[in-house]
Subunit: 529 residues, 2 copies
């Protein structure tokens, strides 16, 4: 029997408020060696530099039990309508594998439905890659352009950038290299720039909108159509376009696209990277086998998150650590700092995943909450960030918990030895040094050169950023955010906060906007009917 | 006579603490029309949705007087050693023009020195662009690659991305289009990816390090050299490389680069985009005249920031508004939200500019401060962010002041009309709608659909993102950060917080690291001597 209560109605929360954090200036080598939790796909979560005492961990595990986090995760995976506001199931785990009982909805086995779509888009991707499917003027496709925004953009884009160079370095020579690009913004300069040098005859477009009504995406579809008509007048653009949408959307059976691949209401946008939303473009660019390896890594992380012992469940531990930092230590933000250039846009994906899921002020029943929920999330790759905003993180007045990510090997294996060490060794040495510098600080008689330390962090470390590792990383954060939302007793799967802006935009463009909206429209030169 | 005191030693600060913010849910059209301050180069700062009452503005102006912000700005521009920790002048304004008395240092007129360097790199850029200067195998240059990190990367990269499409759309047909790329990270995957398809014979490298000792940059220089030796064995790479450095650095008169262009200790990295650090690559990619237009816009903003009336000085007003939000309203972060895809990396530049300048815990004399200083800065372009992290901004538990940027016209002039409005009109309508949605909110009986409003913002609006507008925007934020640092009585121009990480990295790679650092190094597989 699942019961739902707010965080501040749990006994464990009030006990947590009485704890003292581990003072990370006391970080020891022994702690580094013992405070490690396997994540999945060869990844490990090191929480040596996190502000967690053993006793705190025990209370966090009690909190997990009191809030029934694992039971709720299982229930979610088995079809509980966990998206309360929209009365929907939450089934993105099924995209990667079967975690528990089968989910049958109106006679349909959901896992089989997702697999059927996956088989369809895999076959399609293969036909594009082997050249058996060509453009309308008979030329093979060399470029694939995704048109989508939010979850239809950030996750797939982050994954593409994360693997493009690994694939280039590891592919068989017989495997083709297709380039992927992304158009997202309604700013016409975005589409114009992405398409400036495109060869329409060799380009396939993937139009992604679950509802089939996303303003930006439909506008950009038309932008592409008009440009194609001018630049490649003989082209049949519909034969260069596939749709990813829900079966009930206006985009589904309309317009004669080459193919339509389906998701449904149980795959939230920010949780959709492992559905057709990511699978079509990644399958075309990298091949279905690479995408399958990514799914395998994600499924491994999903399974690992079922472990009840908090010390052995990286997603659960990471989630409750974040809650501890937010609600007990009153830290309002968290930084994601991957020491891997390939993860350059992964923080932007996590920013959406986390802030859109848990940036809420009401609980799952719509009642106001009396405690802080999701943090601000930002980040850039190291070592770049070290030469930028780390100054504030080290010596500013707002402590920010840090989430480092690093790998023992580079993706491409190219390197140079300079002053006795390779680039990869320098990269890792910098990462190790930063964790210790943030945690322990260093005394100095000159206050301007004094480092107070006490800045907590975690580290996710792996051998290499492979498809499996990336899949596990993606799912780890999805599950972390899910556990946090459940602990806060909120709905991590709706996004009512995006609605008012849409309504006011419509009022301005087609209706009767308020006076202050009209005034801003005048200032911006909005000429609307 | 300049005097220096902490913020909490001013009378105005204590009066500020007694004020009540303007309740932005009461935003009116009249306020939109009246609360505007010209910035420069056709830009306007709208602060209608900022939490500023008239009375508060009066007190902020008193604070500016009490902290002598304009006098200190003038003194800085005229050569005061405002970088106290390093005992250095702060002269980036002189890169754009002469603001006050000439600065003569050891017999050298600093403005003339910067102009001399500018003339040198302009002539060089012109010779690359007109093809009179060729690579060592006789081919013209088509690509320029900057190797630099931090301020040698983020600012120039943000400016390049901001203008590349504008230049493409507006250039004369006789003007060549050169592509710029950037290598920054010590991660070898960064250089490998940027160079994967490079034609070394047609590529010019710009090596940027003020000290000439930046680990990442020297390592990447060698990475490039080894790859060039393998891929283009006949090439004389030194004839494909220019340096941007200080005259006293090991890079200045060493190695036989094609040319060396100089900055000096009075141009901080994050303030160097208008020096040779940005000027060489932008001059080569866009032509010196475009770079000059950017400098002109920056100089206009620098002059506008000399205005004593806070209601007419956008940089001063923006700075003190930020201080009010930070120290009186206790808001820890601020988001930069450009409604312009071309500004995609401008928030990353501002993140460095602001967080590295004002993320400090001691005053300019090295004494601990008792109040909050620089905020966390993050941001992504709209409308993309609307489909991502705006959920938290609208309905989360942490209010974040928002800095919107928008333009009446797109950069490239390509557009489409869909459902009765153009893309650009939709972009601007969304921007106007968001400001009003954040400010005023909207009541709803369902708490999950209720928008509390009261989220403050400002808007910088202009006709188009031209070189002048971009220069003004860049300088506006530099001056805003400067005024804030002066008001907080801290040194915005050093960055001691980057040192400990460097020291520990060196200890790990070449010295005797502590046990916990060794333990992390083992976890990461660091094999160092």
């Amino acid at each position: 029997m699942l019961t739902y209560k707010n965080l501040d109605q749990t006994r464990a929360y009030h006990r947590l408020l009485e704890t003292r954090p581990f003072d990370v200036t006391s970080l020891t080598a022994e702690r580094v060696e013992t405070c490690q939790t396997p994540l999945a796909a060869g990844l490990t979560l090191s929480w040596a530099a996190a502000p967690l005492e053993e006793k705190t961990l025990d209370i966090l595990e009690e909190l997990a039990q009191e809030q029934q986090l694992l039971e709720k995760y299982r229930a979610l995976a088995e079809g509980e309508r966990m998206n309360t506001g929209e009365n929907r199931l939450v089934l993105h785990h099924l995209l990667r594998g079967q975690l528990g009982a089968e989910v049958i909805l109106e006679g349909r086995n959901q896992r089989e439905f997702y697999l059927e779509q996956q088989n369809r888009f895999n076959a399609f991707a293969q036909s594009v890659r082997d050249g058996s499917r060509k453009g309308s003027t008979g030329k093979p496709f060399t470029t694939v352009v995704q048109i989508g925004i939010g979850g239809s953009d950030l996750g797939p884009r982050a994954l593409y950038l994360a693997l493009a160079d690994w694939v280039r370095a590891h592919r068989a020579e017989s495997e083709p290299l297709l380039e992927a690009r992304f158009i997202s913004n309604v700013d016409p300069d975005d589409a114009a720039a992405v398409l400036a040098d495109i060869d329409f005859e060799r380009t396939l477009f993937v139009l992604v909108s679950k509802s089939g009504t996303t303003q930006e995406t439909l506008t950009n579809e038309q932008f592409v159509a008009e440009l194609a008509a001018r630049r490649a007048p003989g082209l049949d653009l519909k034969k260069h376009t596939v749709a990813v949408t829900s079966e009930t959307s206006p985009m589904a059976h309309n317009g004669g696209y080459l193919e339509s691949f389906f998701i449904d209401d149980y795959i939230g946008g920010r949780y959709s990277a492992t559905s057709a939303v990511g699978g079509v473009i990644l399958g075309i660019a990298f091949g279905p086998r690479i995408f399958q390896r990514l799914l395998d890594g994600a499924h491994q992380a999903d399974r690992a998150a079922l472990e009840p012992d908090i010390r052995k469940n990286a997603a659960l531990l990471d989630a409750l650590l974040g809650l501890y930092e937010r609600n007990v230590l009153a830290m309002a933000a968290t930084a994601v700092l991957p020491y891997s250039q390939a993860l350059s846009r992964f923080p932007a994906h996590l920013q959406q995943l986390d802030m859109e899921s848990n940036g809420k002020r009401v609980n799952r029943h719509g009642e106001a909450l009396n405690y802080q929920t999701g943090p601000l999330v930002f980040g850039e790759p190291g070592t770049n960030g070290q030469h930028s905003f780390y100054q504030l993180l080290h010596q500013g007045t707002t402590p920010v918990p840090l989430q480092f990510i690093g790998f023992r090997d580079s993706q491409q294996g190219q390197d140079t030895t300079f002053e006795g060490s390779t680039s990869q060794t320098k990269l890792k040495a910098n990462l190790a040094a930063q964790i210790v510098a943030f945690a322990k600080g260093r005394a100095h008689e000159n206050p301007n050169k004094h480092f107070p330390g006490g800045r907590p962090s975690t580290l996710i470390v792996g051998e290499q950023l492979t498809p499996e590792a990336l899949g596990a990383l993606l799912a780890h954060y999805e599950n972390k955010v899910m556990f946090q939302g459940l602990a806060w007793n909120l709905n991590s799967f709706d996004q009512e906060g995006v609605q008012l802006g849409k309504m006011l935009t419509t009022e301005l463009l087609t209706g009767s906007p308020g006076a202050e909206l009209q005034a801003f429209a005048r200032l911006l030169g909005v000429n609307a009917g």
